[in-house]
C-alpha cells in the first residue's frame, strides 16, 4: 500500500467551485505533480495560471510530498 500524505489546498476566485470538502487536509500520494492534482480535481489546466506552494510560485510539474500549502489562481484581469 502506498504511503498517503496530506496537503492544504486553497482554490481562488472562479476556481473556488472545484474546492473539495477535504481541502484543509487533502490526501495526495507523495511525489504527485501539481498537474496530476488539478486533473484529479477536474480543474481545466489553462485555468490554473498561478500556482503557489508554501508562498512561492510553483509550476504544473512541481511535485508534492505532503505538508505543503497549495494555492491556485485563475487568470484575473478586472479593473
Amino acid at each position: 500500500m502506498k504511503k498517503q500524505a496530506y496537503i492544504t489546498l486553497k482554490l481562488f476566485a472562479s476556481l473556488g467551485k472545484f474546492t473539495p470538502d477535504s481541502a484543509d487536509n487533502y490526501p495526495v500520494e507523495p511525489g504527485t505533480s501539481v498537474r496530476d492534482l488539478i486533473a484529479g480535481l477536474k480543474i481545466p489546466e489553462e485555468k490554473a495560471k498561478l500556482i503557489f506552494i508554501d508562498g512561492v510560485k510553483g509550476e504544473l510539474d512541481s511535485t508534492l510530498n505532503g505538508g505543503e500549502r497549495i494555492g491556485i489562481f485563475p487568470p484575473v484581469g478586472g479593473g
Binding site: 508562498g55 510560485k57 487568470p75 484575473v76 484581469g77 478586472g78 479593473g79
Partner: protein
Amino acid sequence: MKLNDGIKDRIRALSNRKEFPDKTPYTGISVNDIINISGNFGISCREIEIASLEEEIIPERYVRNMKSFSATDQATLLKSRITIVGLGGLGGVVTEILARIGIGTLTLVDGDIFEESNLNRQYLCRENFISMPKADAAEKRIKEINSSVTVRKHSEYLNEENAEGIIGGSDTVIDCLDSLTGRFVLERASKKAGCRLVSAAVAGNYGHITTIFPEDPGLKLIYGDPENTQDKGAETSLGALSHCVSLVASLETSEAIKIILGKGSLLRNKLLVVDLESNAFETIQLL
C-alpha cells in the same frame, strides 16, 4: 526652482503658527492663500506649494500627511508625475487618492465612457455622468479636490502606437486596466520608457497586486506567456465588487507613493493576493 523673493515673502507673511493634534507646533498656509498668491504672481499653485514646503511652511491640505511624510517628501510628491491607465473601478479610486495626497502631475488615460453598470464600484461615475468620457470625469474630480495638481488628459485607449508617447516622462505608471492583453501592452511600453509600473487586477472578492521595474520579468510570472493569454479572466464570471476594487486600488497607490519616496518595501517579484471571502492576505514570491 527659483521663485522671486517677493513670492517667498508673501508665503511667509500669510503663514500661521499652529499645532498638530499632538500639540507639536508647525507653520501652515491655507488653501485660499495658496490660490491667491498663485493668481497674484501668475505661478501655478503647485509651484507655490513646493516653495512653501521648502520654507517648512506646510500647506494646510497636507497637514495630516506630515507625521508620515517630511516637508521634503511632500515636495517630492508634488514634483512627481504618475500616469493612471484605465479610469474605471481601480482608476477612479487611484485618481481620488493621488489627487488628495498631492501628486503634482497626473496623466489620465481612458477612451471609454460611463455606463450604468459602472455605478456599483467606479467612484468617478455618477447617475448624471452616464455617457460622459471617463477621462473628463477624472479631470473634473481632480480639479474639485486639489487645484495644485496638473492634469494631462488622454481620452483614448492605450495601444502599441500611442503608449510610449503617453507614459514617457512618468515617474511611475499605474495599471488600472480591465484586460490581460492591455496589461501586456502597457508593461511593454513601461519597460521601453524606463517607467516603474504598479499593476493590479480584481475579480469578485479577489484581487492581486505587484510592482514591476523595467528590468523585472513582470506580468508573465503571473499570467504566463502573453502569446497564450486570453483577454479576460475570472472577472467575466465573478464581476467586481466595490469594496474589493477600492482596497486593491488603495494598495496600488501605496506602492506608487513608496516608489516615489524611495521608502518602505515594494512588491517587486512578489504578488500580494487578497481574498476577502476568507480574509486571506498573502504575499507570494514570484521568483
